[in-house]
């Protein structure tokens, strides 16, 4: 039998302390979800990546399903930074939950410019730099595919703000460790492992790609084993707190990422299937902690045995 005890779920992302490790993945969360879950119970809120100028996004269909996963190619539809500062940032003021702003940009200069403006808002607790979105440029290229660019990008943004900087890495690389080290050395406070995996699905009857943009990013439970491996690898080369992201559907998935080395966990696709997924996951984490007598979630981080 398990004994009722006080559970410490707090985790640190740089200088920021979160009440618990569960937060939404950018692009799978927004104000409209206030109708289905209580934002006060989340570790943080992470609205959709914002771009400097308004963006129309990609052609539809923008999502399709694959075995255990989904491909999306939204193309960062965005109302631009002006709208973001006027409407989105003030909206989250009503919640006592740290706001992490996800930023997407087309150049290092633009990342710097946007980061400076957004970080200067006191409502913003941290920045997540989406250096990984595979949709922005031709053929799925992203800043986060190059360690040198990743380093320079982080270093440049580091100059303009002291707020925690989370680098959201792309999994579409030969060595996630190399990129993690670059982001770490560039000045990141935390690493998000990772964005979606570049993928494609073709309708054999129409002979057309299933999504308007041809290729898109794969998310959902199918990718979890790849992401868990990357978290484990990144943990070996960097002491920065890791935010695990990719395929978390339940509490055990979140614990798995924490054991691999993540300090916090983001939930995306799961919320589409189960709108209350984040809070359900939180409950399951607590249940796991009670079952195994774990008082402090931080004590689980990276606690996987080296081998079987």
């Amino acid at each position: 039998m398990t004994i009722k005890q006080e559970l410490d779920l707090t985790v640190n992302i740089g200088s920021l302390t979160l009440r618990n490790p569960i937060m939404p993945a950018s692009g799978a969360f927004g104000e409209d979800m206030e109708q289905v879950i209580d934002f006060e119970q989340l570790g943080a809120v992470v609205p959709k990546s914002i771009t400097k100028e308004p963006r129309k996004g990609n052609a539809t269909p923008r999502v399709c399903e694959t075995v255990g996963g989904m491909i999306n190619s939204i193309g960062i539809q965005s109302k631009g930074i002006v709208y973001y500062l006027e409407h989105i940032v003030p909206y989250y003021r009503r919640y006592n939950t740290p706001l992490i702003s996800s930023i997407s940009a087309d150049s290092i200069e633009e990342f710097v410019e946007m980061s400076e403006i957004i970080a200067s808002r006191e409502e913003v607790a941290a920045l997540e730099l989406n250096i990984s979105c595979p949709n922005l440029k031709g053929n799925g290229l992203a800043f986060g595919m190059d360690p040198e660019i990743t380093y320079r990008l982080l270093q440049a943004v580091r100059q303009v703000t002291d707020k925690p900087l989370i680098a959201k890495l792309t999994p579409n690389v030969t060595s996630i460790q190399e990129i993690a080290i670059a982001a770490d050395e560039g000045g990141a406070d935390s690493l998000n492992v990772a964005n979606t995996i570049l993928a494609m699905a073709i309708d054999v009857h129409t002979r057309k790609p299933k999504i308007g943009n041809g290729m898109g990013g794969l998310s959902g439970p199918a990718v979890k084993p790849i992401i868990v491996r990357m978290i484990y690898q990144v943990r070996q080369v960097s002491a920065l707190p890791i935010i695990g992201c990719g395929g978390v559907m339940n509490g055990e998935d979140a614990i798995e990422m924490i054991l691999a080395g993540a300090s916090a966990v983001q939930v995306g696709t799961a919320s589409f299937i189960q709108p209350t997924a984040m809070l359900d996951i939180l409950e399951e984490i607590k249940q796991y902690m009670r079952t195994y007598g774990i008082a402090n979630i931080k004590s689980l981080v990276g606690q996987v045995s080296a081998t079987k």
Partner: protein
């Protein structure tokens, strides 16, 4: 919008390709309006992973039940057919904006094709309850697919059936039919769902006569609650185009505003 587990009262095949499901909606506190939809988890598996959106087909306020009429298309709808009366189904909704019936309207025209018939049936029901008469053109591949015709007739709608089978479902034939209906009745508003071709036709016909028209759109969805921007379409705002969410700003839009690609 709320996630609920509703008991399935019946789930039966009604024609070659169509199924009809009735659920116990006693637990639902929100009002459901025609044109709105629910996002249904067709199976508890990881594949199909996402929920599937289905419009409300009939709203039985007294019995507190909801009805869906669905076409078996791919894996999701196939799995939905396997669900049995007595089981519960995981339903999220009601979602989106409904059709609007204005006070004073006396006769409306419905132009539906395929699964769009399901969507407009709820509207016909609402119209009937409000004392508004409906003329409905139902288009489908085969007579077999026109199963909702009787339900619509039950609501007092005057139903015109056109099918590929009968060779009278081409745009020209439907155009002639619409003109005939407009000549015989004073149509106060028109509604459509299920066919781009017919929607364009209806848009042209209604625009030239200044008849207000509404359309219910379909688009592939991720969240169905307005956060993922998967389900967008373009609408005209004056000279400009605006990209809006079918699940949130829609699925019902003024017909003249949507860009029918």
């Amino acid at each position: 919008m709320k996630q609920m587990h509703m008991r399935i009262l019946s789930n039966q095949q009604v024609s070659d390709r169509y199924w009809h499901m009735v659920v116990d909606a006693a637990g639902l506190d929100a009002e459901v309006m025609p044109g709105q939809f629910f996002n249904i988890r067709c199976s508890g598996e990881t594949y199909p992973l996402l929920r599937r959106p289905f419009s409300i087909y009939r709203i039985n306020r007294n019995e507190r039940t909801l009805e869906f009429l669905y076409l078996v298309k791919g894996l999701g709808t196939k799995r939905l057919t396997e669900r049995k009366a007595g089981e519960t189904v995981d339903i999220f909704g009601p979602l989106g904006r409904s059709f609007e019936l204005q006070d004073g309207w006396k006769t409306v025209l419905l132009v539906a094709r395929g699964v769009g018939i399901a969507t407009l049936t709820a509207l016909a029901q609402d119209a009937a309850e409000k004392g508004i008469r409906a003329a409905a053109i139902l288009s489908a591949r085969s007579r077999n697919d026109l199963l909702a015709a009787e339900t619509l007739q039950g609501f007092g709608a005057h139903v015109y059936k056109v099918t590929e089978e009968n060779g009278n479902s081409d745009v020209e034939s439907v155009h002639r039919l619409i003109e005939q209906i407009l000549a015989e009745h004073k149509i106060d508003a028109a509604f459509t769902c299920g066919s781009k071709r017919l929607s364009r036709l209806l848009r042209d016909v209604t625009a030239s006569r200044g008849i207000p028209a509404q359309i219910a759109l379909e688009e592939h969805m991720g969240c169905a609650m307005g956060v993922c921007f998967a389900c967008v379409c373009d609408v005209r705002e004056g000279e400009a185009l605006k990209t809006v969410r079918v699940c949130k700003e829609g699925p019902v839009f003024p017909l003249e505003k949507v860009v029918l690609a």
